[in-house]
Symmetry: C2
Subunit: 198 residues, 2 copies
Amino acid sequence: MALEHALLVALREKPGSGLELTRRFERSFGYFWHATHQQIYRVLGRLVDSGDLDVTVVAQSGRPDKKVYRLTPAGERTLAAWLATPAPLEPLRSDVAVKMRGAGYGDRAAVLDGLRAHLADHRVRLEHYRALAAAYDLPPQTPLAEVGQHLSGAVLDQYLVLRGGIRLEEFWIGWISDYLAAHSAGVIRTEPPEAPTV
Amino acid sequence: MALEHALLVALREKPGSGLELTRRFERSFGYFWHATHQQIYRVLGRLVDSGDLDVTVVAQSGRPDKKVYRLTPAGERTLAAWLATPAPLEPLRSDVAVKMRGAGYGDRAAVLDGLRAHLADHRVRLEHYRALAAAYDLPPQTPLAEVGQHLSGAVLDQYLVLRGGIRLEEFWIGWISDYLAAHSAGVIRTEPPEAPTV
DNA sequence: TCACGCATGTAACAGGTTACATGATTGT
DNA sequence: ACAATCATGTAACCTGTTACATGCGTGA
């Protein structure tokens, strides 16, 4: 799995402690990788054992000490080697799709309610990501092929991954909206406007 | 996890054996849920133990016997109960995103090659899904809100999930294309047309 | 007889989730 | 004194992946 590699990328960008990494995975990293602190601590320990990371204990005033992790030269080689290996197509697993497909075998109204809640969540996330993207201060309507002239290096890559997060939210919103639209029409068909209850 | 529920939906649509289910998960189910036969056999056994499925051994001419699984009334209740529970937002995990974000810490050309291969795979899948969608024989340009007037019940839900599969492939193609476009521009900037090597 | 496809499984392992545990310091 | 936050972890469990195993029947 690639939590190892996600951590290597995150620490290569900036060294940090377990809790700091947990925060990053809740925020900017969170739109394409999820991990809990328990898992992060476990993997950090493993990466130290394998020599990819080293640790420095940093004393803090008014706070418990923290362990700051950093890539070793071996860790940089590990990361570079992983980047060069082809990634297999990632299989999708979507509870939402299973529910959509199975909705007819239960209470369809309840499934539709669940989908509406999902839709609202995705809209919130989309706005959040758009706000993050706005912070990159690109000229309005910058064509993608020219983004490379305004941003570069790690910042450009971060921006492009963020755009993926935005596209993903748009995908969810589009899909769920499609489903709801098709099934609202079903409701209208059952009580057609030609026969109002007046 | 929901492999249990995916199997319940699949078997509710049509009873079948372990291998038949494996085939279905490679095909139509495959665009939103993935599972290997080992895992399917294990979960089928568990669902029989819990009383959600029952089994009939069916003798076949010229082939080994097969075990056909079918939902029990209890299984139908289990499925209906699950459908009514709200699904949490599914956290994304994308190796591709990690590689995009980390590309600068390794051989970027290799990462870009991997992405081009991904892109080609997604285009193939998209064409495949579009062919599947065409088999639903809808009038061309049918607005989504009217799809419910041509299809209904389980078939409508299948169609809508398939549309999600199509949207997902379009998402990947869009995202990866964005990334490649931004980085091709980067290459041009490094070797600008104003200074040709003549 | 040998390879192939059908059909079903077991075993070992890796990864992820949930629940619980500990200790320090700051603010009320 | 008590709750909240920072900071790090352990343990048990569940899910998913990979590799291997078995037996039957068909056709070359």
